[in-house]
């Protein structure tokens, strides 16, 4: 088929369709959003399957699991921290197994370009004892996705595809292969899918027995490659995923090519690792993310007579995204000559709220209402408004995980903070704030929650929000917030005085209040979208 220039995310989406995908679910999150966006952009007849934004990653996972139970091939994609939200169905689906192929795509963000941590999803695959693919490039992302669906059905487990930012958001050429047709409807066996203790114990034993087969599949996989240099027993290099590219980039500058092991599948291919380590004195382990293979190699007693180099020994940085320069240095090569640009540092240009953003007006009004209340704290959440923590607004004091603003304000209020304020966006509220608000409503906690309703998921590119408009107000009322303490404001400079007054009234109320700030996102408004 014709070669195409695709983002890594898009290569995965296209491969999923070509694998006979029947349903895809996701929640927006950088760097995973473009997987589902690619499917949604396709004309319906080319897509040929369900593709939908879910309310959160847990619902997305369960929707995909339901489609798999029905014998269809399903994909669920999310950013790395999204898998924390979906961890419950994820872990248990390793026991239910997959009737139709089930692919879990976790896109990690080492270096935290757009995330609150840089956790490594390969540990989740290991935790659940399932098989994981990690591509080093775009063609592999396509090919691994195709193979993952087959593996899922062959081994009766969900399969993880682990991406990292530089694969997800890099473009390159992919040559697709002939598509496969979709599976017919075929329900799973209830004895396997009903995880009563008696069934769960049996299914766990089956999963444990399967480990030997998974390891054998990994050791036989064409995505792993061992090349021993018979005339050099000094250095060996193990590189996983995208780190393989950075090693390759630097090889031509070395006098002698080290023995090399490329790893693209997990459980890590143990016999290949042993053959490499047996052949050399020193092993450099290059991994994008946490030192999973390096730690496995070191174990408690190390490898007698061998030196292991990597993120744990300091040859590579302990955190952050790898670069070709890091690998160059770890290979003891001199840095490339470069233009000397002179004085540093330069003025930084951090991301900021767009001109005319409704969040700015809401946070300005909140700042003014809180000015004469020194004991206050504003707990916030994940979204564009998190940028309100930076100057000039300096308006929020926490950002932890999706939905945490309301529950943390609840706990903060219980601990004595007055006023205790939460600031959360409409989509984040739908994702994980509703249950927190239900809890605060039951306790009638003395706190004020702001829900910033801009009608979209703005930070990730304007995807569908599920808790916006009149429906949002019904949810707030439905969880038990007293109607007289649900206030709607329109965040505009011309309403500033009135908004400050309304906010003060609700801060004064000794119980739960919700202030909904309603104004469309200036960047992704329906008018601009057309």
């Amino acid at each position: 088929m014709k070669p195409e220039v695709l983002l890594g995310d898009e290569a995965v989406a296209l491969a999923a369709i070509h694998s006979g995908l029947s349903a895809a679910y996701s929640y927006p999150g950088t760097p995973a959003s473009e997987i589902l966006e690619y499917l949604l952009r396709l004309p319906a007849e080319k897509r040929g399957c369900t593709a939908a934004w879910s309310v959160n990653e847990k619902t997305a996972y369960e929707e995909a699991l339901g489609a798999s139970f029905a014998g269809r091939r399903a994909m669920v994609s999310m950013k790395h921290v999204g898998l924390n939200v979906a961890a419950d169905p994820f872990m248990n689906s390793a026991l239910t197994g997959a009737e139709g192929g089930l692919l879990v795509v976790a896109a990690d963000d080492p270096g935290m370009h757009s995330s609150q941590n840089e956790q490594d999803s390969r540990y989740y695959a290991d935790f659940a004892r399932i098989f994981c693919f990690e591509p080093s490039g775009h063609q592999e992302a396509y090919d691994m996705t195709r193979e993952a669906f087959d593996f899922s059905e062959k081994f009766d487990i969900p399969i993880m595809l682990r991406l990292t930012t530089r694969i997800s958001h890099s473009r390159s050429v992919v040559v697709p292969r002939e598509p496969r047709t979709q599976n017919p409807l075929r329900l799973g066996r209830w004895q396997d899918w009903t995880l009563l203790p008696s069934n769960a114990r049996r299914r766990f034993q089956q999963l444990l027995k399967r480990q030997r087969e998974l390891l054998a599949a990994s050791e036989a996989s064409a995505f792993n490659a061992l090349t021993l240099n018979p005339s050099d027993r000094g250095l060996g290099v193990i590189a996983t995923g995208i780190a393989w590219n950075y090693v390759q980039e630097n090889l031509r500058g070395l006098a002698s090519t080290p023995s090399l092991l490329k790893i693209g599948t997990y459980p890590a291919p143990e016999s290949l690792i042993r053959r490499l380590v047996d052949h050399v004195d020193r092993v450099l382990v290059a991994e994008e993310g946490y030192p999973l293979v390096e730690r496995m190699l070191r174990g408690l007693y190390g490898v007698p007579g061998k030196t292991v180099l990597g993120r744990m020994s300091g040859e590579l940085p302990a955190s952050g995204e790898l670069t070709p320069d890091h690998i160059r240095s770890a290979l003891s090569m001199n840095p490339l000559a470069h233009y000397e640009a002179g004085e540093r540092p330069l003025a930084e240009r951090p991301p900021q709220l767009c001109a005319g953003c409704p969040h700015t007006d809401t946070l300005k009004a909140l700042n003014e209402a809180l000015r004469d209340r020194p004991g206050s704290n504003v707990f916030s959440d994940i979204g564009c408004y998190t940028l309100g923590a930076l100057p000039p607004l300096n308006a929020i004091q926490t950002c932890v995980c999706m939905g945490a603003s309301i529950s943390m304000a609840h706990g903060g209020s219980d601990a004595g903070i007055r006023p205790s304020v939460a600031v959360i966006g409409d989509s984040t509220f739908g994702h994980s704030g509703i249950t927190s608000l239900l809890s605060a409503a039951r306790a009638d906690t003395d706190m004020t929650a702001f829900i910033l309703d801009n009608g979209t998921v703005a930070m990730t590119g304007g995807q569908t929000s599920h808790a916006t408009g009149p429906g949002l107000l019904k949810i707030i009322e439905g969880v038990g917030v007293p109607p007289e303490h649900i206030r709607v404001i329109e965040p505009l400079p011309k309403h500033h005085e009135r908004n400050v007054r309304i906010i003060r009234e609700e801060l004064d109320h000794k119980g739960l209040s919700v202030i909904v700030a309603v104004r469309e996102c200036v960047t992704y408004s329906s008018k601009r979208r057309g």
Partner: protein, 197 residues
């Protein structure tokens, strides 16, 4: 013309979120594909796009390209729609590389440095092209075409034919109307003339 004999070109595209550097990348990518080159292009999405510094590593080669990221000292060109952003990546430039930058500042930060000093530092690079992208884009018909002006200013140094670039500017802007196609083609030509090569 300079650079034409090379079989690889590593470019760092820079600018501020919203200035359209991914459109520059789109045109170069498609042109490179037409000319049978391999390409890799690493982008920044998500939070950083909100008015922050954005960059894209774009690598073209007639041979295999391994890394998505350009090593420090490996860039043959810095192509920036904003002068402070050009300065930010100068350390990545090869000693023989060329910097192609707009002289029009995007001042959305309080501590934007002295513009004269920024431009002076860019002019110190032995091979440089500094173009007034705002003026030229307005002359072409829209101040939003500054990105394509800068692509034009870089075009004499690219290992790509001007015709391939023009074809994909047309493909990119055609869905948004014939007028925008004309404006951007004019922007490319004005930028190219400004390079004075």
């Amino acid at each position: 013309m300079e650079g034409r004999s090379a079989d690889k070109q590593d470019i760092i595209l820079a600018g501020v979120g919203g200035q359209g550097i991914l459109s520059i990348a789109y045109v170069i990518d498609r042109a490179a594909l037409d000319e049978g080159l391999h390409l890799r292009q690493a982008e920044v999405h998500g939070m950083a796009q909100r008015g922050g510094a954005v960059q894209s590593h774009l690598r073209l080669s007639s041979g295999t390209i391994f890394s998505d990221l350009i090593p420090r000292g490996g860039a043959d060109m810095i192509l920036s729609v904003e002068p402070l952003e050009a300065l930010r990546y100068l350390d990545s430039l090869a000693p023989t590389g060329v910097v192609v930058s707009s002289s029009t500042p995007y001042r959305n930060i309080a501590d934007y440095p002295d513009l004269g000093n920024v431009l002076e530092r860019l002019r110190r690079v032995p091979r440089h092209v500094i173009a007034d992208s705002e003026k030229l884009a307005k002359e072409a018909g829209s101040s939003r075409a500054q990105n394509i002006v800068m692509l034009g200013a870089a075009s004499p140094f690219l290992i790509l034919k001007e015709d391939s670039l023009l074809r994909h500017i047309e493909n990119l802007f055609k869905p948004r109307g014939a007028n925008l196609v004309d404006i951007n083609i004019k922007a490319l030509r004005l930028g190219r003339a400004a390079a004075g090569v």
